[in-house]
């Protein structure tokens, strides 16, 4: 049975909405396959606006990996803005894919990638617009299987009622495995209905199906245990890890949108994982071990990607790009190769390290040296030991003075506020650091017009990190601390004018904290917020703290709980955490030791260069560190133009 495009109905609405181009599809390198030629069909969603969702690498990779398979199709869908949502409801146009404008409800699987918890309300909007029951329990065989992925899926409990399953870790192989299971089940005539399909997925050990697990609570509200309620499903669900990135050179044909999006560049993931061990960093903890793409693999991806897209910028992505064992050769090789072609190179996420200035200089050979960004994260030496961000003030000053000396005019410094054990003094030292940066910058550059911008936001403790037990700082205390810092910077007559101050207030962080470390009971809050009109919580102009708090006050007391219980409460060693049955490979005892080390201000080294410190991931997941150097070089291209 074929499926009709909803485009004719949608088209009539488009003249009435902002930026209609985001809803029409037709991107370069997008794929539309005949519906009837495929027996497994995926709708993939990034639950935010098109301009944010389109460049998302995760969705782009899965889209291509799935569409490359015979008999499988994947189409994309994004959150529609409230202006279109209102019209779609009025004219009964369902949530659609942008590729062929097929209704999302017609697909077999509906995969949603959550980079952040703030996309949860958008999931509910999309389900409702699609005509898919919000509660997984109410779905029938005719509805898609709703799959959550992405970093936030490492604790999917707050959305456990709304999803059918979650996959944690790398998606490339996981989606293919799920596709085969779905195909076999359909070919057999869908034996046992939806329940059976979910069971077949669950028994692989790599797909978490919340309905197969019961959560039992203690009288005080804490979890007593999470147990499988049927035999054959594992006690703990494992994350997926792709080994050998060179075997997975995706995206090969990155999507090139017509609409303007947040990242307009050819992105190449130069490695996955990070073992720097920053204790606040969930990404670094859950993506271990480090797996590098080889220098030649990077070179090929850049070459093909530029040819297929026409982008004029290449982004070398990873969690800490300067840590690639051959980054110097990669940067120089690419800069040499594309010097004539006006291709810009960017290297996000770099450490505070003088070596990075050389790199940055290499990447901006012909261009303007405007700004460099570093993330010391903590203002005092003490707090940087707590979070294991091993950078001394001397390092920082040496680095920035090299930068200013090399003609860079602006340095941006990123910090967090509300880190465990933090006091006002730790934060106020940020002002001193910025002052020293400016003083040194003026000295080495001989100019007064250099700038330093301090950017700071509230810290949110995340699951699967050593800080998963830590109390979050309340919004009021965060704001008060940030205000003191602002006053300190402003009051500096000599340097204050050269220091920019940007901050995020503490309120959104509390909602993020509630969702990050929430359990299944938090689902009631998400549903209430959605029903009250909550949408696009990652957007300042749409986010409403008051709505979240009002909805939490309506729902959580029924469980004897409140927002503070989830956010500012410190957890103890014995507590069963809502995500303990989701196995990121990290040994919970190791995480606890690292948490204790943090309180003792004891640092831990990077296992790439020092012996293993037994975080548990490699043996648990049967993976290994994959790093160079390979000793190979990037050769100039011999392409005749």
């Amino acid at each position: 049975m074929s499926v009709e495009s909803v485009f004719p109905q949608l088209e009539a609405l488009l003249p009435h909405v902002q930026k209609p181009i985001q809803y029409v599809g037709g991107e370069l390198n997008s794929t539309v396959k005949p519906w009837d030629d495929c027996d497994v069909r995926w709708a993939l969603m990034y639950p935010d606006a098109y301009e944010v969702g389109l460049p998302n690498q995760g969705v782009m990779i899965l889209y291509e990996v799935l569409n490359e398979r015979e008999g499988v199709l994947a189409e994309r869908t994004y959150s529609v803005w409230p202006d279109l949502e209102e019209l779609m409801r009025k004219h009964e146009v369902p949530q659609f894919t942008v590729d062929a404008h097929r209704p999302v409800a017609a697909f077999d699987l509906f995969g949603v990638s959550f980079s952040t918890e703030l996309g949860y309300t958008n999931l509910l909007t999309a389900l409702d617009l699609a005509g898919i029951p919000l509660d997984a329990a109410d779905r029938t065989e005719d509805h898609p299987v709703v799959v959550a992925g992405g970093h936030a899926a490492f604790n999917p409990e707050p959305i456990a009622d709304f999803i059918d399953c979650a996959v944690i870790g790398d998606g490339e192989q996981a989606v293919l495995e799920m596709t085969e299971i779905t195909r076999a089940w359909k070919a057999e005539g869908r034996p046992g209905g939806r329940e059976e399909l979910l069971f077949r997925l669950a028994r692989t050990g790599g797909v978490y199906v919340p309905r197969f697990y019961d959560v039992e609570y203690l009288a005080d509200g804490r979890i007593s245990r999470v147990v499988p309620n049927r035999s054959g499903v594992p006690w703990r669900v494992s994350k997926h890890t792709v080994m050998d990135l060179d075997e997975w050179p995706y995206p090969k044909q990155p999507l090139v949108p017509l609409a303007e999006t947040v990242h307009e560049r050819m992105s190449v993931e130069i490695f996955r994982g990070c073992t720097r061990g920053c204790r606040f960093c969930q990404a670094g903890m859950i993506t271990r071990p480090v797996r590098e793409r080889s220098i030649t693999g990077i070179g090929e991806m850049v070459e093909k990607g530029l040819k297929n897209t026409g982008f004029e910028e290449v982004g070398l992505l990873s969690l800490s790009s300067a840590d690639h064992t051959e980054i110097g050769d990669v940067a120089k090789g690419l800069a040499d190769r594309y010097e004539e072609d006006k291709i810009g190179l960017s290297l996000p996420s770099t450490r505070v390290d003088a070596f990075n200035i050389d790199l940055a200089n290499e990447l901006t050979r012909n261009g303007r040296r405007s700004g460099l960004t570093f993330a010391p994260e903590g203002g005092s030496e003490r707090i940087r030991k707590v979070i294991n961000k091993m950078v001394s003030e001397e390092d920082l000053i040496r680095t920035v003075s090299t930068a200013y000396g090399n003609g860079w005019r602006q340095v941006k410094l990123y910090f967090m506020c509300g880190l465990p054990t933090e006091t006002d003094d730790d934060v106020l030292q940020i002002a001193d650091m910025a002052t020293k940066v400016i003083a040194k910058g003026r000295e080495v550059s001989g100019k007064n017009d250099i700038r330093c911008t301090v950017s700071i936001g509230g810290f949110v403790p995340k699951p699967h990190t050593p800080f998963q037990w830590a109390p979050q700082l309340s919004a009021e205390e965060t704001d008060a601390r940030l205000e003191k810092l602002r006053d300190r910077i402003r009051s500096d007559k000599k340097y204050g004018r050269s220091i920019g101050f940007r901050y995020h207030d503490g309120k959104p962080g509390i909602v993020e904290g509630l969702l990050s470390r929430g359990d299944r009971r938090v689902g009631a809050v998400i549903r209430a917020v959605y029903e009250d009109g909550g949408r696009f919580d990652g957007w300042r102009e749409h986010f409403s703290y008051d709505r979240w708090m009002a909805c939490a006050e309506r729902t959580l007391p029924g469980f004897g709980l409140d927002v503070a219980w989830y956010t500012t409460r410190e957890r103890s060693y014995e507590e069963v955490l809502p995500w303990d049955h989701l196995d990121s490979g990290l040994d919970k005892d190791w995480l606890w030791e690292d948490w204790q080390d943090s309180l003792d201000e004891t640092e831990v080294e990077d296992c790439r260069w020092t012996p293993c410190f037994d975080c548990g991931v490699c043996p648990q997941m049967q993976t290994e560190i994959q790093i160079g150097p390979t000793g190979r070089k990037l050769l100039p291209l011999s392409v005749v133009k």
Binding site: F7, E11, A12, L14, P15, H16, K19, P20, I21, Y23, V24, G25, G26, E27, L28, V256, L258, A259, E260, E264, L306, K307, N308, T309, G310, F311, E312, K342, G367, R368, K641
Partner: protein, 258 residues
């Protein structure tokens, strides 16, 4: 240094491409097609592309024009095919000539538009057109960046006719098609301004959004109320022969934008 003038379209769903969106897409297409572009000087060099008189977002077009500067000469037809291939379907490059004359933008004096009004009876449309044309001035309002602006939509209109849908494409609930020739004045009068004018003078209120397509742009032939191909003078300069009737063809037939 070679200059090439191109005619391109915005068809089907890609008519929702804004001019900024098109610019980005076109510059990427130039890169993919490895066109030897000339670049502006300065810290952020831009490829030298001059865009002329872009159609508003949401309206289709069969006749958009731009000019590019190359550092090495290329055969215009080969370049056209290459760029057409490089752009997504709907953004189609349909004509190319080497620039031999100055001032292509000045030759874009007027546009021919087709405005399709679904579920409007042709007779109602005709009545409204008659009322519109009978008026000396038709005041309309448009929301601009600087607030609501009032101006005359009548003076710029050279021709306006209403017909029914073509016999081979009947439409449920009726369909009227307006053909509009409008002079490019300041402030520019767009098809939606004329639609506002039809509403103001004759209460014509289409129940669904109009499908608007630019069919041609060029020099206005006042007598016949048609426009001529703006690339013709460049072609003539090459052949150095007297213009043929074909080269002076007025507005091209609509190719359908659905």
């Amino acid at each position: 240094m070679q200059r090439i003038r191109l005619r391109y379209t915005k068809r089907g769903r890609l008519r929702f491409t804004s001019h900024r969106d098109f610019q980005r897409a076109f510059e990427r297409a130039l890169r993919r097609a490895e066109v030897p572009m000339a670049y502006s000087a300065g810290f952020t060099p831009h490829p030298k592309v001059s865009y002329a008189n872009a159609a508003p977002t949401g309206t289709g077009s069969e006749a958009e024009y731009l000019e590019i500067q190359l550092t090495e000469a290329r055969d215009p037809d080969t370049l056209r095919a290459l760029l057409d291939e490089s752009l997504p379907p709907g953004l189609d490059v349909i004509d190319a000539v080497e620039a031999r004359t100055s001032g292509m933008a000045d030759r874009l004096e007027a546009s021919v538009w087709e405005i399709r009004l679904d579920r409007v009876a042709p007779a109602d449309a005709e009545r409204a057109v008659t009322a519109f044309l009978a008026a000396d001035t038709v005041e309309v309002e448009r929301r601009t960046k600087n607030g609501l602006r009032t101006f005359d939509a009548r003076a710029a209109v050279v021709r306006l006719e209403a017909t029914g849908a073509p016999a081979d494409r009947p439409v449920d609930g009726g369909c009227a098609i307006l053909r509009l020739v409008v002079r490019h004045l300041t402030p520019a009068v767009r098809p939606d301004d004329v639609l506002s004018g039809l509403r103001a003078t004759a209460d014509l209120a289409p129940p669904v959004p109009a499908a608007v397509t630019r069919l041609a742009q060029g020099l206005l032939d006042e007598e016949s109320g048609t426009v001529t191909d703006p690339l013709a003078p460049d072609r003539e300069a090459v052949t150095a022969a007297p213009p043929t009737a074909a080269e002076l063809t007025a507005a091209m037939a609509p190719e359908g934008s659905a």
